[in-house]
């Protein structure tokens, strides 16, 4: 036990019941308000930047679409999510079978609900050499205490 703790011990030994009440009220109030304020601030910031990112990305996609239409050089056929239309011109990498396309389209359709909301433009195998979803699940399982 270091000196500061000894000092603290001596300090609380002198605290009356009222002092203890005041001390705890002070900490509870400060803690409660600051934790909430910080996290509420984060909520607003996340919302703001999310909407900016979404707006910028949507604008980017729209302008791209426009260019593609003007040039009449459509290399990728957009596949609507549901019902699934897998056309021959769709950009697919080697090794991505029609069944995989069907499964991905079905998953997208389920996520978005309405067919008008989603289009699959291309399906590529991830070049990311990291862990697979199952490996990640395994790691999470093994490191549960954290």
């Amino acid at each position: 036990m270091n000196l500061s703790n000894v000092a603290f011990l001596a300090h609380t030994a002198e605290l009356s019941l009222a002092d203890k009440g005041i001390t705890s009220a002070k900490v509870v109030l400060t803690g409660f308000i600051i934790v909430f304020l910080m996290l509420i601030l984060l909520i607003f910031i996340i919302k703001i930047y999310s909407s900016i990112v979404t707006a910028v990305q949507n604008a980017g996609t729209k302008s791209k679409k426009k260019n593609v239409k003007q040039d009449q050089t459509i290399t990728k056929t957009e596949v609507t999510a549901a019902p699934v239309i897998a056309s021959e011109t769709q950009t697919l990498e080697d090794g991505v079978s029609d069944e995989v396309v069907a499964v991905i389209s079905a998953a997208v359709a389920t996520m978005y609900g309405s067919p008008s909301k989603a289009r699959i433009k291309s399906i590529k195998k991830s070049s990311n050499g990291g862990r697979s979803a199952w490996a990640n699940a395994g790691v999470l399982d093994n490191t549960r205490p954290f």
Binding site: F8, F32, I40
Partner: protein, 412 residues
């Protein structure tokens, strides 16, 4: 005859320095406790990754207390040095009252040196680096409101603080005990080493035990505080989050938190650095090291040395019992407040939020989220709350780090 006498002296010397002569009853009790914990870790697999090194560290320190001994420096006069056959050269000297003393250092025990990483607050942030690499903040970004639940579950920390103050603990000790309610091992250790290092053994063991017991402690509270109708709510699918949003998240969060609450910066900073390793996708090697090798090495050091703080004399006190009871209260309160705020969100959103995800606001990633999923599925087998609960769950990690920053600032 001389040989026999020499042999007898040697045996006597070994016996006198053995544990049979030096250990007291508290050490023997703790050896028993550590064997029970080893059994729980190996046979029952209760958090074995941490419990096993903790229990073994506890065993070692109670068998051989010197393993945690701090280095010391003796001051010897010239005569004393000569009497003890210590060479005078190579020793630093100190002059006190015109007498020259030679400094004769004795070195600390093995675990003392490894413990410096805990004592100086190095290991917990490094563990957070690894956690950051493994955490997907996607569910939180797509539903930022879950941060409210992550904040609500921290109320338990401050309520328990009050309980600890009234039970006679100091402000600093009460802060360290309250943080058990954050259900986050590294945060609890970090705060305790800063506020009340003498309580580290009891607090770390209480925190990790309750985290292991999340699936037993939480469900009764969840069922008691929610109605069947609330538990059956099926939540809307989360929107997909773009890569750019995921990359920006750690940078923005660390800027906001470190500016407003610098005391939380070491924990939140490392958590977000790890997350940026993962989300940026350009430093895969670093991300792999942080979440595998580095984290495993730190876990070994952290577990063993935290266990080694639980020597009989330190651990077998009435304070430990009070800490274990207060820790349980902290944990239950955290769960309850998370649920109550979940219920509020249920009301305000017109029944779109399932209050069960609130209990996941006590960090304990991902166990608490799994418990929400499991309890939700008991009411409606087709209900998948896991990803919705991951939002408050990871928000809880940020929330406890913020709460830790507040405690360090206010009572530290």
């Amino acid at each position: 005859m001389e040989i026999l006498q020499g042999f007898m002296d040697a045996v006597k010397g070994i016996f006198e320095s053995s544990g049979l002569q030096t250990l007291n009853w508290q050490n023997y009790v703790m050896i028993g406790v550590s064997i029970v914990l080893l059994y729980l870790a190996i046979k029952k697999q209760y958090e074995p990754l941490l419990l096993l090194p903790i229990a073994f560290g506890m065993l070692l320190v109670n068998l051989y207390p010197q393993i945690m001994a701090a280095p010391q420096t003796e001051l010897l006069t010239k005569a004393e040095c000569l009497a003890r056959d210590i060479s005078l050269s190579g020793h630093a000297t100190t002059v006190i009252d015109n007498v020259t003393y030679y400094e004769n250092p004795t070195y600390g025990g093995l675990l003392y040196y490894l413990y410096q990483g805990v004592k100086l607050g190095i290991y917990p942030p490094l563990i957070f680096l690894g956690i950051g690499c493994m955490t997907d903040f996607g569910p939180l970004i797509s539903n930022p409101k879950s941060l409210i639940l992550g904040a609500a579950a921290q109320i338990g920390i401050f309520v328990t603080f009050t309980g600890a103050i009234f039970l006679g603990f100091t402000e600093a000790e009460a802060g360290a005990i309250g943080i058990i309610g954050g259900a986050d091992g590294p945060t609890a250790i970090y705060v305790t080493t800063k506020l009340a290092p003498h309580l580290l053994g009891s607090i770390a063991i209480a925190a990790y035990s309750y985290m292991a017991l999340v699936p037993i402690i939480q469900p009764p509270i969840m069922k008691a505080l929610t109605t069947k109708k609330e538990r059956s709510v099926v939540m809307e699918q989360l929107r997909p989050v773009s890569k750019l949003e995921k990359i920006m998240f750690p940078i923005i969060v660390v800027i906001v938190i470190a500016i407003f609450l610098p005391d939380a910066a070491p924990l939140v900073g490392m958590l977000m650095l790890g997350n940026l390793f993962k989300e940026s996708g350009v430093v895969e090697r670093l991300a792999k090291t942080a979440q595998n090798e580095l984290m495993n090495i730190i876990t070994i050091f952290l577990g063993t040395t935290v266990g080694a703080t639980a020597s009989g004399q330190n651990f077998l006190t009435f304070s430990t019992i009070k800490i274990i009871v207060l820790g349980l209260i902290a944990f239950c309160m955290g769960t309850a407040f998370g649920l109550l705020f979940g219920k509020l969100m249920y009301k305000f959103t017109g029944g779109k939020v399932n209050p069960l995800i609130g209990s996941a606001g006590v960090s304990a990633v991902p166990m608490a989220a799994r418990v929400s999923q499991k309890v939700g599925q008991q009411e409606n087998p087709g209900n998948f709350l896991l990803m919705h609960a991951m939002g408050p769950n990871v928000a809880g990690v940020i929330g406890s780090a913020v709460a830790a920053g507040v405690l360090l600032n206010v009572v530290g």
